[in-house]
Symmetry: C2
Subunit: 171 residues, 2 copies
């Protein structure tokens, strides 16, 4: 057994990668790649998403108390890297990554075309967790592409998961 000083968090990876969309009070939207999330309650449906305090996305979620979890498909790996390596403060990542969006049922934060699952979320509260905020949110609308989600389970090889570093894996 080796004692780990860094990278402890990778013991909880691989984790499903998603494109986290948010919108500010002024209507400006952003998207970032993220994997630090967990379901937090089945009934009522709730999730927790952790975002570094310094990220533009954190600022926007604090402003409007909502976000959307967009689950990308296998062909969107390049998009995942673009949305994970630049800041929306400086660039329009939707444009940069060639993303088109549409409006959800319950949020102003945009949904990304071509994704295979969506969770529209309204934040109930947040807590400070070290360098991050953990946003606890109600899932107001959940949609999934049935071609990839059969009998209530993802099918093999459909969902990108972040292992660590630049490694994306599939089950």
């Amino acid at each position: 057994m080796k004692r780990l000083e860094h990278n402890f968090y990778r013991l909880l990876h691989p984790k499903v990668v998603f494109l986290l969309t948010s919108v500010g009070k002024d209507g400006r939207a952003n998207v970032m790649s993220c994997a630090w999330a967990t379901p937090a309650s089945e009934e009522p449906p709730m999730v927790i998403v952790c975002v570094a305090k310094e990220h533009y996305t954190a600022e926007l979620i604090l402003e409007t108390s909502e976000f959307v979890i967009n689950i990308p498909n296998k062909n969107m790996e390049k998009i995942i890297w673009i949305c994970g390596s630049k800041s929306g403060r400086n660039v329009d990542k939707f444009k940069e990554a060639g993303l088109r969006t549409f409006k959800g049922k319950n949020t102003e934060a945009p949904l990304i075309e071509g994704c295979i699952g969506y969770l529209e979320c309204k934040v109930e509260k947040f807590i400070e967790t070290g360098e991050c905020y953990a946003f606890l949110a109600h899932v107001k609308n959940c949609m999934v592409d049935e071609r990839y989600f059969v009998r209530n389970l993802w099918i093999n090889d459909s969902v990108p998961m972040h292992l660590g570093g630049n490694k994306i894996v599939y089950f």
Copy 2:
């Protein structure tokens, strides 16, 4: 796109399964299978684990403010099911599942022999999240079996992940 009323949480699966150990004030320990966790901060190292309020484990964590995340290996699937389907209020699951334990560096909650990773955690705070408590904790000690964790990444086919229902998958 299909609107999901139930099983929304499965969009965030597969998730690494772990054996969550805890101990009460009186020294009685318990173990349950769990997958609802996420890293919550890299520096300081923190995690969030969500446990149903009604679970015996939740009661014990509230008493002593600590837990251990034990990452099982591929040969422990049967153990995962035993620890996920009975309550420690009624049976000694360590005995039931044939588990041997040892003492960690920072917690009274036991570590399970044969696991491939360990996170010893001290709870900083908890919040109510629907039917669960979300426990935010500092990772005080992290150990990993280097045969399965190479260049700071899990190797293929080493870590059981819960897809949903009775499905365990590997990447």
